[in-house]
Structure formats: structure tokens, C-alpha cells
Symmetry: C2
Subunit: 210 residues, 2 copies
DNA sequence: GTGGACACGTGATAC
DNA sequence: TGTATCACGTGTCCA
């Protein structure tokens, strides 16, 4: 109702063309020019509706994609599809943050507590620690006698382990040792690193016992 | 254009007020009754359009929610919002499965390799293993001397550790020991469990060294 | 002035 | 039956 009232006055009541005085400006004004603008309007309206149809198709194709992604929600009205999508996104976000927090993954991957696939070794002074605390981190193939070898290497350099974290998973072992009593200088660190390198590089004997 | 053509004939072209001649059923049929149905049509149309408006609002509120959830996509047309939502859902799904696979979480949570928050102890025969292999799993507070205590407990029951997995994280320690040589019966299992329980229940001495 | 995006009212359809 | 959902054409605003 309102649309018709506002539409017709604009389209018909105001004839546009004012190309005056060819022969008769009355005809030119009231009949000739309005006819062509009316035709143009029809064409424009067709273009408009077709464009709007394409827009609707774009949106609706995304709805079908969404219905395909969401588990067994094939038949659902648009509002419910969107609502369920919101629920799903929130659920996935929450699950992701939870599992990342639980596994200590996703942040500082270079400091991952799980063993890496290649052998690594780093020995460094713990800053801000009195008494020359040194942290040694290394990753290697797990094997029988690994702890014995580590203990022997530590006793050789006269270090004392005050804290240790050891992870063995999938046949790979990662260990972090906090060692004290190596002496203040750099020699102790170098000696510890050399000793541990021998431990890491020792070949793995085949396990004859499961 | 088309709507006006189809609208006016139905609603306006039929003059309304004809409340004449109650005795004449011709009028009753052709004028009186159409008036009430025309009124009813208007009311129904109003109801219809309002209902449709509510539906649109439901859908649009979900769009705003979606725009709020998706990161910095505040200004986007509906089709793009849906497309971005699809992308986000797929990305989250993929990230979740990847991180679950990488951390071995999400499946068999009761067999999680990470230490639990409460002390636990289980000792059981490994099925299908010759030679009486026993697997002992326990979770406890980490402390200095834990490994020594474990070693002593194992030597007391005359068991031989053929494989071990040890995890210490966040001050909690989880250990899995595969022990052989306890004897065929159930007594060895019970003895090992009792010995390990002593280890677990031993109070944690305060760490005087970081 | 041209096209894109949106809201609106309406007819059609399914339950 | 009414009730809810959808597609459509249109008016309107904006860049």
C-alpha cells in the first residue's frame, strides 16, 4: 500500500524529459519522453530483481553449505541453522582452548615439553639463580640404560641434580635436568654438555624384551 | 509494479461498505459477506507481515551474534558473514582434530598419559604376555627421592623393571612400570602394589632448593 | 547515475 | 484449519 503510494507519484506524475521545442513540446513532455523512461524503468526493474535474485542465491548457497557442515541438521529453517552454527562455533572454540591448555600445545611450540623428532641438546645457566644453577635439556631416542648413562655422565662432571623432568613417549625421550655444583665458570657447562652429548649419541641397543 | 497490479484488484477494486438489505441473500452474498472477508484479509495480511517481520528479526539477530563471534568481521554483508562462518567452522574443526591427534587427548581420556590431580595406583597382569609381565601405573606428588624409593620398593619385591615411562609436569608425577620376575601367582602383584602404595603415601618433604 | 545491500509486504506452500 | 517458512519483486539508502 505504502509502496504503491510512494512509487507511482515518482514514476509517473513527474515527466522527466525536457528536450523542448523540436516541434511540439507538449507531446515531447507528456507522452514521448515518459514512454522511454517508463521502458527504461521496466528494464531497470528487471535488472534489479535479477540482481536481487543472485544475491539471494549467494546467501542460500551458504546456508546449504552450513547445513552440510553441521552434523545431522539437514532439515532446519534458516534461523535455527544460524543458531546452531553459533552454538557449534562456540563449542569448537571452547574445546580447542581447553585441549590446548590441557596439552600445553599451541603456545611456545618451540618450548614444547614433549620430545622432538631429532636429537637436541642445550645447556645454559639459569639466570637470577644463586649458586650456579644450570639447566640441561636434551631429546634423544629412548633406550635401556639411558638413566644409568645420564647418572654416570653427571657424576663425571661432579654435578648434582636438584630437579628433573623426564618424558618418554613413542620411543622418544626428553629430559630436563637442573644441575648444581658445576662451579662458577663456563667450564662446568661445557663439560656437562660434552658428557651429555656422549650419552645422546650412544647407539640404541635393540630391545629383546617387550 | 507487478505487486501493485495484483494487489489493487483484490483489495480496492471491490467497494466495501454494502450493509444493505438483510432480507436479500443476493446482497448478502455479493456485498455484505465480501466486506467482512475483505476486512479479514486486511487483518490477516497485517498478521502475516508482522509475523514475517518477527522471522526476519530472529534471523538478523543471529547474524549480529555471528558477527560478534567471528574475529574483526563486524562489517560484512550477509553472504560474506556466512561464508566466513563456514571457513571458521572448518578451520576450528581441523585445528581441533590436529591438536587432539598431536597430544593424544580426546580419546580414551581415562588412559591419559599425563599425571592426574589425585594419587592413583593400579597393578595388573599384562594379558597375552609370557613370563608374568605386570604393569604398574601410579600418579603422585613429585618429590626428591621418588625414584630412589621406587627402586627400593621394587628390589624389596624382587621385581625387575623391563620398561618404564615417567612423566613429571606441574609438580605431579605419573609413572608406568613394566615389571617381571614377581612369580606366577597373585601374591607378587599384591606385594608390589603394597610396596608402591608406601612410596606414594610418603609425605613430600619441602624443597629447599629451587 | 549505477550497482550493491537491506527491509518490506506479499503469494505460495507445507504441515 | 491456521501457522510458519520461503522466494519474489520492490523501495530505499549508500558508496
Amino acid at each position: 500500500m505504502q509502496s504503491t503510494q510512494s512509487y507511482y507519484p515518482k514514476q509517473i506524475s513527474f515527466p522527466k524529459g525536457q528536450r523542448v521545442l523540436l516541434t511540439n513540446n507538449i507531446y515531447n513532455k507528456n507522452f514521448f519522453k515518459p514512454k522511454s523512461t517508463a521502458e527504461a524503468k521496466v528494464i531497470a526493474a528487471k535488472k534489479h530483481s535479477e540482481s536481487e535474485k543472485r544475491r539471494r542465491m549467494r546467501i542460500n548457497s551458504q546456508y546449504t553449505t552450513l547445513r552440510a557442515i553441521l552434523p545431522d541438521l539437514i532439515k532446519m529453517d534458516k534461523a535455527s541453522v544460524l543458531g546452531e552454527t553459533v552454538r557449534k562455533v562456540r563449542e569448537l572454540k571452547k574445546a580447542l582452548t581447553e585441549v590446548e591448555a590441557a596439552c600445553h600445545c599451541g603456545d611456545r611450540r618451540d618450548e614444547c615439553v614433549l620430545p622432538g623428532g631429532v636429537d637436541k641438546l642445550s645447556v645454559e645457566q639459569c639466570e637470577g639463580e644463586k649458586g650456579g644453577l644450570v639447566k640441561a635439556t636434551f631429546s634423544c631416542e629412548d633406550r635401556l640404560g639411558l638413566i644409568s648413562d645420564m647418572t654416570r655422565a653427571l657424576s663425571c662432571v661432579k654435578g648434582r641434580v636438584v630437579r628433573a623432568e623426564m618424558v618418554t613417549v613413542g620411543g622418544r625421550s626428553k629430559n630436563a635436568l637442573w644441575v648444581q655444583g658445576l662451579g662458577g665458570g663456563n667450564e662446568g657447562v661445557v663439560a656437562l654438555k660434552r658428557a651429555l652429548k656422549v650419552v645422546i649419541d650412544r647407539p640404541v641397543l635393540p630391545r629383546n624384551i617387550i
